[in-house]
């Protein structure tokens, strides 16, 4: 089970993702909450210092902050280490230069982040049962989710091209009675990467829900509707849309006018997302700091309707 929390900057993604994770852990669901936002604040919200590797921050609750940059430099180190045993010594400096250049390519950090997230997705259902992703603002998240679709045809093209070259070579060898190489390690690696992306893609389609978070204002609404369209196109299901920081309704003066605007936005949100499949959940403006596991647990009562079936019910 995988749940993303996405939306515009500052709408409450981290707070709600953390509260949701705390709530599920308290229900006995083994939960990992992970931040993919380059400007991490999950650790601050939980009141714990976090790293790339999930660590326990409470009963049944793990947390981590992952980074595309770190993943990319780890991968370069790995590839370079493998290369030391696989290629002639004199080309190693060139290999290293090419690797460093590749890491500076646009999109590499996002790909690396997705790669790290894939590790965590693969461990979901084994090392923990629920993966909660506090994602970066909407555009970043959409790119993250659409990457497998973007990369798959590329890798297919590469693999196909390479295979054809091998086949023609083998045919020519056959004419000479030579034996061609049976395994192409490069082709194998490219295909492994493709399989990994495809597995991630189908896992996200089958097992993931995206909760779009917004505050009841006009601009966030427009962005939420766009994000919903793009997610649908990427084949990823929406979970309940969360309207956060909704005023209580007993204000007067300026706040009362604001309240009227809020009502209009809420009506539109309900019209668009109120169907049975997704649904809309409103979360009021809450008092307190909303940091630390105890505070979050208290606030998380508002998220009850998001509960997946827990181990105690199942």
């Amino acid at each position: 089970m995988i749940r993303f929390f996405g939306g515009k900057g500052g709408v409450g993604k981290t707070t709600l993702a953390a509260a949701f994770a705390v709530r599920q852990a308290r229900r006995g669901v083994r939960t990992l909450v992970v931040s993919t936002d380059p400007a991490h604040s999950l650790g601050d919200v939980l009141g714990e210092s976090l790293s790339d590797e999930p660590r326990s921050v409470g009963e049944s609750l793990l947390a981590a902050e992952i980074s595309g940059e770190r993943q990319a430099s780890n991968r370069v180190a790995e590839v370079l280490e493998d290369a030391r045993h696989a290629v002639p010594r004199e080309v190693l400096p060139a290999v290293e230069r090419h690797l460093r250049r590749a890491v500076d390519s646009p999109g590499t950090v996002e790909s690396a982040l997705l790669d790290r997230l894939t590790d965590l997705v693969e461990r979901t259902g084994r090392d923990w049962d629920l993966l909660v992703v506090d994602s970066a603002p909407t555009g970043h998240m959409l790119r993250l989710l659409s990457l497998p679709a973007l990369l798959t045809p590329w890798i297919e093209g590469l693999a196909h091209n390479r295979k054809q070259a091998r086949d023609v070579d083998r045919f020519a060898d056959g004419l000479l009675g030579e034996v061609g190489p049976q395994n192409d390690p490069l082709l194998e690696r490219l295909q492994n990467r493709r399989r990994r992306l495809e597995a991630l893609q189908s896992r996200l389609r089958e097992d993931a829900r995206v909760h779009l978070v917004l505050v009841p204002e006009r601009l966030p609404l427009a962005e939420t509707e766009r994000a919903a369209d793009q997610l649908a196109e990427a084949g990823v299901s929406l979970g309940a849309v969360l309207v956060n920081r909704v005023a209580s309704g007993d204000e007067s003066g300026v706040l009362a006018r604001r309240r009227t605007q809020e009502r209009a936005v809420l009506a539109r949100v309900r019209e668009r997302f109120g169907g049975e499949e997704t649904g809309v959940l409103t979360v009021p403006l809450l008092p307190g700091e909303l940091t630390g596991v105890a505070d979050l647990a208290e606030a998380s009562g508002w998220l009850q309707s998001l509960d997946p079936p827990g181990p105690r019910e199942a």
Binding site: L99, R101, A102, D104, P106, S111, V168, F171, R193
Partner: protein
């Protein structure tokens, strides 16, 4: 633009680049059809090789991360290729040695 469209466009661009590159390496010109076959195989590999080393040509590769594994093999291939062509050093340290 679709990923497929980008792929085709990039492919055409690479081929153009590669043709220009090959003009200086007429050694590859072969007469017998069997050698032609091998050359075809190499040309395909060359296109791929070039694609994966695009960064050194200043062209952004959107799948650079996914193809990191391939880099050592491709540089080694490139190395073997310029040695087959009778050059011990390629002469551009940014590409090979």
């Amino acid at each position: 633009m679709t990923a497929g469209g980008r792929w085709r466009r990039l492919g055409a661009r690479l081929l153009r680049y590669w043709r220009r590159f090959e003009r200086g390496h007429e050694l590859l010109l072969v007469s017998r059809w069997r050698q032609g076959l091998r050359k075809e195989a190499r040309r395909r590999d060359d296109t791929l090789r070039t694609l994966l080393l695009l960064e050194s040509l200043g062209v952004d590769n959107p799948v650079a991360y996914e193809t990191l594994d391939a880099v050592p093999y491709l540089v080694a291939d490139f190395h073997a290729w310029h040695r087959r062509m009778g050059r011990d050093e390629f002469g551009d340290a940014g590409v090979c040695c």
